[in-house]
């Protein structure tokens, strides 16, 4: 590995577990363990998988005005977010593009924000530039982040603290897991029930070992993390969403609560509001959709999409053979007239055309626990 790559606190454990390591967002990360991507994917869908996501940025926004301040950067209702509730959010740019996507949870000590590893430094700078004076922007570099995902995650984690079973999807709380202090949310990036666990870096290996000792749990690498999130229809920043896509184009309007839309009590007031409100009213020229192929050939990022006449009408932004679905699945942007569910179109792969159908996402049913 290259000497200038960062390591998470679990790096040595990954090596010990036989992981194949790859550079990702400046970190030396496990792409798969000896079981392999397919087995890891299926294990997470049926049992429980442990992911090291410590490369992601954890930040605490401290101060009474933090929620209102953060609303100046995201088109999301943060002010009304209840204690220990979590919400998906987007940093937007002045042209309505997406700077990053993030998770926000309200804790007793502030707003707990998790951002993508590749955007962390720019996100922190962005928040410092715009929020300083209204709240403290406090990065948490000494915190590791673990994800325990899958239908058996609750069974495994409950053995370390039975109270985590009481959480519902997109809520969280402070829990001691077998004596280790953590902040736990019931959320994740696989479409399954499960948890994300923020833990002090110097206790993270100990916690990971306790979780791996549970009979349901095996370690899962970034390879399966990507196929799991894709089947769940979840966007990957830098691929399915970026500075050239707006939330409306990205079919993420569900993340923008009515109170922040035109006519809402706290409408606008975030970067790009004019563009996004106009797209709400008039629609966007292109939309992000899910695609499924009836054939076997995987359709990957960058594949051109054409209509029956061979006219280019879109592009694939993520795609693979969905291990659970058993068919090629993809996320793509298409011209809006082609975004209707059931629309047939073609992907061009190595000069061949393969049929695809616009499909609803997730491609596999969500396993979220809503109580």
């Amino acid at each position: 590995m290259s000497a200038d790559l960062n390591k998470t606190p679990l790096h040595a454990l990954h090596i010990e577990l036989g992981a194949k390591m790859v550079p990702f967002a400046g970190y030396d990360m496990p792409v798969q363990y000896p079981a392999g991507v397919m087995a890891e994917h299926k294990h997470t869908r049926t049992q429980a998988g442990l992911f090291d996501v410590s490369h992601m940025g954890q930040v605490l926004l401290v101060g009474d005005d933090a929620a209102a301040a953060l609303e100046t950067l995201v088109p999301v209702d943060i002010v009304d977010l209840g204690l220990f509730k979590q919400r998906y959010a987007l940093f937007t740019a002045d042209d309505g593009g997406i700077l990053d996507d993030l998770m926000v949870a309200r804790r007793t000590d502030g707003l707990f924000v998790v951002v993508n590893a590749g955007c962390r430094d720019q996100d922190i700078a962005h928040m410092r530039k715009h929020l300083s004076g209204r709240c403290e922007v406090r990065p948490l570099p000494d915190q590791a982040l673990l994800a325990l995902q899958g239908p058996q995650a609750v069974t495994a984690l409950s053995r370390l603290n039975a109270d985590v079973a009481k959480l519902v999807f997109m809520t969280g709380g402070f829990f001691e897991l077998d004596g280790i202090p953590t902040f736990v949310t019931r959320s994740g990036y696989t479409g399954e029930d499960g948890y994300e666990i923020s833990v002090a870096a110097d206790r993270s290996v100990e916690l990971a070992r306790k979780l791996l000792a549970q009979p349901e749990v095996m370690p899962i690498g970034l390879g399966a993390r990507d196929s799991l999130r894709l089947e769940a229809g979840l966007c990957l920043y830098g691929h399915d969403i970026d500075t050239t896509t707006t939330p409306v184009e990205a079919s993420l309007t569900w993340a923008i609560q009515k109170v922040r839309r035109a006519g809402g009590a706290r409408a606008g007031g975030y970067p790009g509001a004019a563009v996004i409100d106009r797209q709400f009213a008039e629609g966007a020229a292109r939309k992000r959709v899910g695609l499924v192929s009836p054939e076997r050939m995987p359709v990957r990022e960058g594949a051109k999409l054409v209509n029956a006449d061979g006219v280019e009408i879109g592009v694939v932004t993520s795609g693979t053979l969905g291990p659970t679905v058993g068919k090629p699945v993809a996320l793509a942007y298409v011209q809006t007239p082609y975004a209707t569910l059931g629309t047939g179109l073609f992907a061009e792969v190595r000069g061949k055309r393969t049929p695809m159908t616009v499909s609803s996402t997730p491609f596999t049913p969500n396993g979220y626990f809503r109580g």
Binding site: S227, P298, L321, R350
Partner: protein, 123 residues
């Protein structure tokens, strides 16, 4: 006839002027679980090092090259139906295609087992 190898991690086993081609244990390990193979059409001719097929895992797609020049005389339909054979039995039932050699001397340019093992060890 002994098995030869290419730097692209393919193996070539030649009998009576027909070369059977597949990917090596190292190649399938690097790719991970193979989920799709695109095999060439029987009757089509390729020059050595031309792309003749594709092998895809969940993670990635990789080209499969014609290691030697010639005409495709057979492809492995069992592999097309069950691409995981490339992982479970890469050197036997996971073969990709058979080429009728048009220039058998090209085999001399390929690696023997010792040279290939050395390449893998240093990769």
């Amino acid at each position: 006839m002994s098995i030869k190898y290419t730097p692209d991690h393919e193996w070539v086993d030649t009998t009576d002027g027909i070369a059977t081609v597949g990917i090596t244990v190292h190649a399938q390990d690097a790719l991970g679980d193979v989920v799709f193979v695109d095999l060439p059409d029987v009757g089509k001719s390729f020059a050595a090092k031309e792309v003749a097929g594709v092998v895809e895992s969940v993670k990635a797609a990789a080209d499969v090259y014609a290691p030697v020049s010639g005409e495709i005389v057979e492809v492995n339909e069992a592999l097309r139906a069950d691409p995981s054979l490339a992982n479970s039995d890469p050197l036997k039932s996971g073969w990709f295609f058979k080429v009728k050699l048009s220039n058998p001397s090209e085999l001399d340019g390929l690696m023997d087992t010792t040279a290939y093992d050395e390449l893998v060890k240093n990769s």
